[in-house]
């Protein structure tokens, strides 16, 4: 099958052929064991699929819930695709909201608002899931193709339902909205003559070989100019191409375009006829009148055969067939190889947002905003960030600067942050941490076997002595102490004999020493639990 190409002049012809062959394959006339597969990148329209129409209706509805036609279409398609058993017509009555929603999945009705916030591609992926389209095998090809369009649209244009729908309505009849098929499978190809330029096939079929030599419809506009009085000062004006022009002062333009058009169409015939390696089959309507003018390529062919005695020898008058040579069944080794195929059984789609979230820094930020309405900014929040880069007293300025650069503080807020910081340093314990007598490391990474990394906000060392400090932005919690105790524990295992631990709550500047004795027992239970769990 792969060696066969069917060439057409226009996409619409291809669409007719595809529709015909597909219908034939599914009809009783189809011969068992025969491969009727055809592929075409231009001839299969996506919006012939129920699933795609359902998605589009859902988009229209989400865009404007009051759009009665979208409502009708949505309920109708949902009913049609899931074969609920309710009469199709009933689904069209959508003025009653409850009745309307009874046709739609609960998930859809419930998530309407959330859905609208999704980017276009995610929206359609989610709709596929919500409407259960991903399990309908016959629809998968169309869903894929539709999603390809959505993907390419949303990476190119504004990510907006209305924009997409507008684009779709303008392009739904064009090649852009047609199915794409992989080339390397065993199926006959349907393509336009224009696309076939430069390609070759073992056997070529040309149905509809009867295009007009002159412009047939969609007459182009010619830009013309004339020295005749009426038009003298008009410069170039557009006129519709028509044979009437032959008798006007624009006849030169007409003749030129006429000749060009004939030549184009003859060239096309040449291209079509020269694609075949082994066999060429052409069908065209016989001319109604024997001696009519050769205005189309079919009549031209007919005339050419009739006028040439040599060609007439092979002309079968009864069947109106001209044949030369014989069509052989190709030897197996002459058939092109095709690659093995794999079939998509379902369209996998699921909600990634359950498994993965975007990082949440914003929630906290706006919580704080709410507590103290906009203008007044609580500076304690920034201290955590400053402290995590600051080692010694003399590094304050550079630390603040890096925060400004990251966009978290505005220059004019700087002074306030500085003030907050010096308030914090009034506490002698805190102040002593930033003394040069310590070896200081911030954001220290400790490796614990099997557990991975523990990151300590601040570690100060002198010989066998170690002080660990953890900065917290929230309110004091038990969990915080346990964490610091854990750090202290790790440090002891690393042969520090004198280990102290502190918590610093930056919002209120509160410092808390964490004593190991008090909660030691707790740690032990933790450990034993861990042991139990392992054994």
């Amino acid at each position: 099958m792969k060696d066969i190409a069917i060439l057409v002049r226009k996409n619409s012809e291809g669409q007719r052929i595809v529709a015909h062959i597909l219908a034939y394959r599914n009809s009783e006339r189809a011969k068992p064991g025969i491969n009727y597969d055809v592929i075409s990148n231009e001839s299969l329209r996506i919006d012939s699929a129920a699933s795609v129409n359902l998605l589009l209706a859902a988009l229209r509805y989400l865009h404007n819930p009051a759009d009665a036609i979208a409502r009708a279409q949505l309920a109708f398609e949902a009913n049609r695709i899931h074969k609920s058993g309710r009469p199709l017509a009933e689904a069209l009555e959508v003025s009653n909201q409850a009745l309307f929603e009874s046709y739609l999945p609960d998930d859809f009705t419930r998530q309407k608002t959330t859905l609208r916030k999704l980017p276009l591609l995610e929206l359609t992926e989610t709709l596929i899931q919500v409407f259960g389209l991903h399990k309908i095998e016959g629809e998968l090809v169309f869903l894929q193709a539709f999603q390809d369009i959505v993907l390419s649209f949303s990476s190119r244009e504004r990510n907006d339902i209305l924009e997409f729908l507008t684009w779709w309505d303008e392009n739904r009849h064009t090649e852009k909205a047609s199915l794409k098929s992989p080339g390397d499978v065993d199926a006959a190809q349907i393509l336009t003559i224009h696309k076939a330029k430069g390609l070759q096939f073992k056997v070529v079929l040309i149905p509809f070989c009867s295009w007009e030599l002159d412009h047939a419809n969609n007459m182009p506009a010619l830009w013309v100019k004339s020295d005749e009085d009426v038009y003298k000062d008009a410069g170039y004006v557009p006129v519709r191409y028509s044979s009437k022009l032959a008798d006007t002062c624009f006849s030169e333009y007409y003749k030129e375009e006429f000749a060009r058009c004939y030549l184009d169409n003859l060239n096309l015939l040449y291209v079509a006829f020269t694609r075949a390696e082994n066999g060429l089959l052409v069908t065209a309507p016989a001319p109604k009148k024997a001696n009519s003018q050769a205005k189309s390529v079919s009549r031209l062919l007919h005339k050419a055969i009739q006028a040439n005695p040599e060609l007439m020898k092979s002309w079968d008058k009864v069947n109106q067939v001209w044949m030369n040579g014989e069509l052989h069944t190709p030897e197996p080794d002459q058939v092109s190889n095709s690659l093995a195929t794999v079939v998509l059984r379902a369209y996998p789609v699921s909600n990634w947002r359950d498994k993965l979230v975007v990082r949440h820094a914003g929630t906290f930020f706006f919580e704080k905003e709410k507590e103290s309405p906009f203008q007044k900014i609580e500076y304690g929040i920034y201290l955590h960030a400053v402290l995590s880069v600051l080692r010694y007293h003399d590094e304050v300025d550079s630390g603040l600067e890096s925060l400004v650069n990251s966009g978290l503080i505005i220059q004019r807020e700087l002074d306030q942050v500085k003030t907050e910081l010096s308030k914090l340093f009034e506490n002698p314990i805190v102040s002593s941490w930033f003394d040069r007598s310590w070896t200081v490391q911030t954001e220290v990474s400790l490796l614990v076997p099997g557990e991975g990394e523990s990151r300590v906000d601040r570690l100060m060392m002198q010989g066998k002595k170690a002080v660990v400090v953890d900065f917290k932005t929230g309110v004091p919690a038990k969990e915080d102490q346990r964490q610091v105790l854990n750090y202290m524990d790790i440090l002891r295992k690393m042969n520090f004999t004198d280990v102290e631990g502190y918590l610093l709550y930056t919002r209120k500047g509160e410092v808390m020493e964490v004593k190991s004795g008090k909660t030691k027992s707790k740690r032990k239970t933790d450990d034993s639990q861990l042991d139990l769990g392992l054994s």
Partner: protein, 937 residues
């Protein structure tokens, strides 16, 4: 096969030395994460972690300079450039070029190129020989060719190029000195500075022991720095190579390594036995699919199969050379794994907040004084954030705007009901746009009705806005200029995903795979353009010049991608490769050369398959609505009068003749087309205006004269009256302020002229006909009950006749037609024919004639139905009246019985039970049918 990084970690721990003074330098952050994990796998007790740095962090540790963000750098460059070359461009227009120039400077420095020489105008080729003795003859050749072609041409573009080129050297120098003066640098500048000053730090304590791990394609600066450490500090360099591409001359993946192997310093850092993993046995499966989504969904299926056979998600990576497919991939794979980790972020430009801001900018840019254009307003009122606090308020506003057909909406109407609306619908300009947007974003971020994710978006946008204010202040030349810059800044911003970084299925871009090894590797988009990427970022420095100065070129990039590809599969056991079988319209994007190489050169056994789902055609089932009791009940309602609906109109009957199903949808179910603000003055609006004007004219005339007689003199001031009537009609249509004059512009101006000409033409005809009597205009409420022989026994017709007038015994039934309607038809029967051409206007006027005659009971005289249309108003030859079978109808009375008979059987069919509502077979009718989507037509 143990991962590359694991081997090194193991080696490090095996030395049993403290690690805190060891520094390990990696190409990227992800490599450090994995390395740290491998370290904890190898240790017995807690230890201080060694310093794990990216090369950028490592290098910047040797400098006190700070690297500001791109916005600040480009802005500083803008100032320097502006001083140098008398720049007239606004910053937003400069930004793109500024970024490009900055990139060029960055590369020049990273590759230690002499910028003074590079930016020299060499169109005078003599200097080339004398000054540039450090260039190889090959490289000189490149320069000669390039400058030779520049010299040969005199085109304006070339002149311009030389002009800009000459200034770049100075800009480069000044920019650098300006930055260093402020303690700042761009990355390349910093790298170069460090590379050039390394010797000074020779005896310092420095970073202790340093090793460099997994590098390829080093910049000259990096090369110099690493070489210095190798020489002076005996640093180790760990190369992640395979004999397959290292020892084969034509494998571009090994190009850089072969160079380093010949380098006197680096030579000794290569191991004596080069690993040979790539050609060890592994399963390789290749899948082709048409278009990206096919690949992505097939990936889901193949992954699911692999997982069911025992493949562990933790040992599996999905590599995306084309980042665009990230979201489809997430949807496709997340159902099969418990957790996944993604190194790429969520694009800020895909967020609803970005859409909102774009709409707000549309709103402000399209603002006229105190009025906003309906398009952004309607869109904003429907936006999820805008409706969140009070959905009903937003909905009610939207509805009112549609009902009033407000093209421009006063801001006071909008700026009410919710905080957000009060903030959005005020006027702002380029000077106050920053605080305006900030207030809106803060308001959204603080709304109780939105989700965590939404707050996250708000947070990131706030950061962008703050940065813009910080660097640029409030100085924008226009709102458009602000928007352009804003878009450029947002385009590449991503919100990071959070998740346990090393747990579950890993999804990453091609660059992130460096140094990492997975047992199972899936790579998508193996097509030219994605891998190798064709993404060239643009540069001021032409190819030949780049070649001459050994700056990176396309070949450089290809070699780098080749390495990334081979490296990512070399230690894997199961490899799954996906590509798009279809090239794009330009024939680009065929199967990646690397994939072809693997298939044909590697000798690996591959399984190659194509995704092909058979297409099942749908039998599109016809839609047929049988007339059950419910439908019949609804049908009977057509006969009942109501405030808005009186009888069945001729146009409804026309619809029924066109397509029974369309009639059902439109007139039984009353599914109406969605309301939209009519801004464009389409044919319908035009017709409405003409009808309105004509009606008012005669109503006022009759009122004024207290008589229905129309005389010649009545048209003396018709023109003035017309203008006023038209103004009123337009004001009414668009709900404009009645007190203010109408502002005709653009399309409205044209329509005004057409309506005027049309109306004048009618007046002219009427003046010629005067005196005559106006019997009625826009006759509403006229109904006629037709007796039917079948259930329900009657049918009520109704409609609105445009005008009835009388002169002598001739009564004219007039319909104004602004379209292409014709007066001609073949026979009475032809007015009822389906699925062929039918004269709808004639049908309509005949129905009116029937209604009028039956209502008034006229039995004698002449009744002449006809159109006042384009064809007979503007063509002197034609006269008033319908034309049946080429004969003008001078009296319709004799035709009415036949007409009524046909009408009756039509209505009997409509009300009868035999004929269901079905679809027309003439698909031409469907082209303009609002329901064509339901029928798939």
């Amino acid at each position: 096969m143990t991962p590359f990084l694991y081997n090194i970690a193991n080696e490090l721990i095996a030395r049993k030395k403290p690690l805190q003074h060891v520094t390990l330098v990696f190409p990227n952050r992800r490599a450090t994460l994995y390395f740290r994990k491998y370290l904890t796998d190898c240790i017995q007790n807690p230890v201080f972690s060694p310093k794990l740095l990216t090369i950028e962090e490592f290098i910047s540790g040797f400098s006190t300079w700070r690297v500001p963000d791109r916005l600040e750098l480009v802005h500083r460059l803008y100032t320097v450039y502006g001083n140098e070359v008398n720049l007239e461009e606004a910053f937003d227009r400069f930004y793109y070029w500024g970024e490009m120039l900055l990139r060029d400077f960055d590369e020049i420095d990273k590759y230690l190129v002499n910028a003074g020489h590079l930016f020299k105008d060499l169109s005078n080729l003599k200097e080339l020989d004398t000054q540039f003795d450090y260039l190889t003859p090959d490289h000189k050749e490149y320069l000669m060719n390039f400058w030779g072609s520049i010299r040969a041409g005199t085109s304006e573009n070339k002149q311009k190029f030389v002009e800009v080129w000459r200034s770049l050297g100075t800009v480069y120098t000044k920019f650098r000195s300006e930055l260093s003066g402020a303690g700042l640098a761009y990355e390349g500048m910093l790298h170069r500075h460090v590379a050039d000053n390394l010797s000074l730090r020779d005896d310092e304590s420095g970073p202790g022991e340093v090793s460099f791990i997994g590098f390829n394609a080093l910049t000259k600066a990096e090369e110099k720095i690493i070489a210095w450490f190798v020489e002076k500090k005996a640093s180790n360099v760990y190369w992640d190579v395979d004999e397959y591409y290292l020892n084969t001359e034509w494998q571009e993946a090994g190009e850089f390594f072969r160079k380093y192997m010949n380098d006197p310093v680096f030579r000794k850092t290569f191991p004596s036995d080069i690993p040979a993993n790539l050609r060890k046995e592994k399963t390789v499966q290749v899948f082709g699919a048409a278009q990206p989504v096919g690949q992505v969904k097939l990936l889901g299926q193949v992954l699911e199969e692999a997982l069911s056979k025992g493949v562990k998600p933790d040992e599996t990576v999905v590599v995306l050379p084309d980042e665009k497919v990230l979201l489809p991939v997430l949807h496709s794979v997340s159902g099969f794994v418990d957790s996944l980790n993604v190194t790429m972020g969520f694009p800020l430009s895909s967020t609803p907040l970005f859409n909102l801001i774009e709409l707000i900018m549309d709103l402000q840019i399209g603002r006229r004084g105190d009025y906003f254009n309906h398009r952004p307003v309607i869109a904003l009122l429907g936006h999820p954030y805008s409706t969140a606090p009070d959905p009903n308020a937003a909905h009610a506003k939207r509805k009112e705007i549609l009902e009033k057909n407000w093209v421009y909406i006063p801001k006071n109407f909008l700026a009410s009901s919710t905080d957000l609306h009060r903030l959005m619908f005020v006027d702002t300009d380029e000077k106050s746009i920053i605080p305006y947007l900030r207030a809106i974003i803060l308001c959204i971020g603080s709304m109780a009705e939105i989700g965590k994710m939404d707050k996250e978006y708000a947070y990131y946008f706030l950061k962008v806005i703050n940065r813009m204010e910080e660097v640029l202040g409030h100085d924008y030349s226009s709102l458009q200029s602000f928007l352009k810059l804003f878009r450029q800044l947002v385009r590449f911003q991503k919100i990071p995903f959070s998740g346990e970084p090393l747990r579950g299925l890993q999804v990453m871009g091609m660059l992130e795979t460096r140094n990492l090894d997975f047992k199972n590797v899936f790579i998508l988009s193996l097509n030219e353009g994605s891998l190798p990427s064709y993404e060239t970022k643009g540069s001021y420095i032409p190819y030949s010049v780049r070649k001459a100065y050994a700056l990176p070129t396309v070949e450089h990039q290809d070699a780098m991608y080749a390495y990334l590809f081979y490296r990512s599969v070399q230690r894997a056991q199961n490899v799954f490769l996906f590509y798009n079988t279809e090239t794009d319209v330009l024939g680009q994007g065929e199967m990646s050369r690397f994939l072809r190489q693997l298939i044909y050169e590697s000798g690996l056994k591959l399984e190659h398959r194509i995704l092909n789902n058979t297409i099942h055609p749908h039998q599109i089932e016809p839609i047929i609505i049988p007339k059950d009791s419910k439908v019949l009940e609804a049908l009977n309602k057509l006969n009942e009068g109501s405030a808005r609906f009186r009888g069945i109109s001729p146009s409804a009957l026309s619809v029924y003749l066109d397509c029974r199903l369309q009639f059902y949808l439109k007139h039984i179910l009353k599914i109406r087309e969605a309301n939209e603000v009519e801004e464009d003055l389409d044919a319908r609006v035009f017709g409405n205006l003409l009808h309105e004007v004509m009606e008012k004219f005669y109503v006022q005339l009759v009122d004024r004269k207290k008589s229905k007689l129309v005389e010649v003199t009545d048209f003396d001031h018709a023109d003035d009256q017309l203008s006023k009537l038209l103004d009123d009609a337009v004001k009414q249509l668009y709900h404009l302020d009645p007190g203010k004059p109408v502002d005709y512009d653009g399309q409205r101006l044209i329509v005004r002229e057409i309506v005027k000409r049309f109306a004048n033409q009618i007046f002219e005809a009427d003046r010629k006909r005067a005196p005559f009597v106006i019997e009625g205009t826009e006759l509403e409420g006229l109904v006629y009950t037709l007796q039917l022989n079948t259930e329900p026994g009657k049918a009520v017709l109704g409609g609105k006749i445009d005008r009835v007038d009388r002169k002598g015994d001739e009564i004219r039934i007039i319909d104004y037609k602004t379209g292409m309607d014709k007066s001609e038809f073949e026979s009475i029967e032809s007015l009822f024919v389906r699925e062929k051409k039918r004269n709808k206007a004639a049908f309509q006027t005949m129905v009116y004639a029937l209604m009028y005659v039956r209502n008034t009971g006229i039995g004698k005289g002449r009744v002449v139905p006809g159109l006042l249309s384009r064809s007979n108003l503007f063509d002197d030859a034609s006269s008033f009246g319908l034309i049946m079978n080429k004969q003008i109808i001078t009296n319709a009375l004799p035709l009415l019985p036949e007409f009524e008979m046909h009408l009756k059987s039509l209505l009997e069919e409509l009300f009868g039970t035999d004929q269901p509502f079905d679809q027309t077979t003439d698909t031409n009718t469907c082209r303009l049918c609002p329901y064509n989507r339901i029928c798939y037509r």
